[in-house]
Subunit: 265 residues, 2 copies
């Protein structure tokens, strides 16, 4: 099965989103979509008088911000994606990690920084894989918004890359899972200024080298850390590339982005 | 199974909502919740510079208003209800009629009035009962926000009473369905000014009389029209009463609201 993460930049552009959803709907077999947030949450938050706050690239989620992201991620974005997929013949069902108790999480402990209602996801054993399998077996395509819950009644804001990798890992015992990160670049780049400098394959050893030399940095580090953890725990393949190139990514042709490789044993 | 509709007035009051959800979570067997909108959508719409417009008690849903109700109904309200039910041990899954293609609808035709993105639901045969049954059989409790979709990519704003009655009718061939409308009154009142003047039983003949004499009027008419149509089409019972009295309504004791009765044959 395919687990596809689609980034916020694509969500912010209706034409790009529509093209991506056409390709996603056409994928055969069981599949699952995880979407990010996009800038619309910040825009609507500002209209409501709530300025976004970031520390070290992470959004602080106070109670008001949680309300905004719940409205935008789980309402506006998620349900419009579902309605568009339905129009494309894909029987989507929109969810957060609270729905079907799919993704329990814990509120991030307050240390030097209080991230507010940010959710940290546990290991794949914490995922309610049984419920997700029941949906897939009913012919449904789950579409996850980047929210989880604490089991005590509160939703939590959670990184979409993390959600995609933990879902992939949790479903790996039951399906041959390929995890695909779609974003605005063609893949992991050797030179950030060169769109064509895609590194076609990265294994866990070259990854350590790329991190040490600063070729891979910033937001790409947690994304790839998660991805390699997923490979180590049984996910069959991780592909990273442009949203517009989904068929090529899946097909493994040229312009096929970056494939992460794990050498087992 | 129980299909419970909870009105907007209860959603606007966190303490009343919490009490209701405790009672709902405690109901045994398969169950399904449909929630209304509440005033919060108007409040947030106004903050975003979108004034609500009504014609004959019906809200006009222009494109901007559709965005607001999608955020508030399917995001803020639906996901917080789901998270609260999860905390109460009820494995809820929040949905709109777009999710799992559960409730296809058609955009209301423009005649004297253009209601905008308002969805008219068809007969029970249009409901995707198979998908809803799959969720129930997986031990999940669907929680519906009052939105449907047109199958062409657009969400539609739809009356929650109508959604509850069409779901009840569509599931009646497979379950013994009791439909319960919970709102802020103790039942259908003989005298609107007297909270204690609950009419304990109404059958289809007395209903015609109550309508003709104006005892039942305004918003109660479409609610009861829907309810009697559901009874005629196989729903076992319809109960109408106060959200706080859910256990009494279900139990059939005193203070048990109004029971609608259909004399088959």
């Amino acid at each position: 099965m395919y687990i596809i993460k689609i980034g916020g930049n694509v969500l912010d552009n209706p034409e790009r989103l529509q093209r991506f959803l056409i390709d996603f709907a056409a994928l055969p077999g069981p599949k699952l979509l995880v979407h990010g947030g996009g800038k619309i949450a910040s825009t609507i938050g500002l209209q409501l008088g709530i300025a976004p706050q970031y520390v070290e690239g992470r959004r602080l989620t106070d109670a008001e911000t949680l309300r905004v992201v719940t409205m935008v991620y789980a309402g506006l974005i998620n349900k419009n994606v579902v309605a568009q997929l339905q129009a494309l013949g894909c029987n989507a069902i929109g969810m957060t990690g609270a729905d079907a108790n799919a993704i329990p999480a814990t509120k991030r402990p307050v240390k030097a920084i209080d991230y507010g209602f940010a959710g940290d996801v546990g290991g794949p054993e914490t995922i309610n894989a049984t419920a997700i399998q029941a949906l897939l077996q009913a012919g449904l395509t789950p579409v996850f918004a980047p929210l989880t819950h604490d089991g005590k009644g509160s939703l939590l804001n959670t990184n979409a890359d993390t959600i995609a990798s933990v879902l992939a890992t949790a479903l790996a015992p039951f399906y041959t899972v390929k995890l695909v990160y779609c974003f605005e670049k063609r893949g992991v780049l050797a030179n950030a200024a060169e769109d064509d400098s895609v590194i076609p394959h990265i294994d866990e050893h070259t990854y350590q080298h790329l991190k040490a030399t600063g070729v891979v940095k910033d937001g790409m580090v947690p994304k790839l850390d998660n991805a390699f953890a997923a490979l180590e725990q049984g996910v069959k393949a991780v592909l990273i590339g442009e949203a517009e190139a989904l068929p090529e990514l899946i097909g493994g042709g040229s312009f096929s982005g970056t494939t992460l490789v794990w050498h087992h044993g």
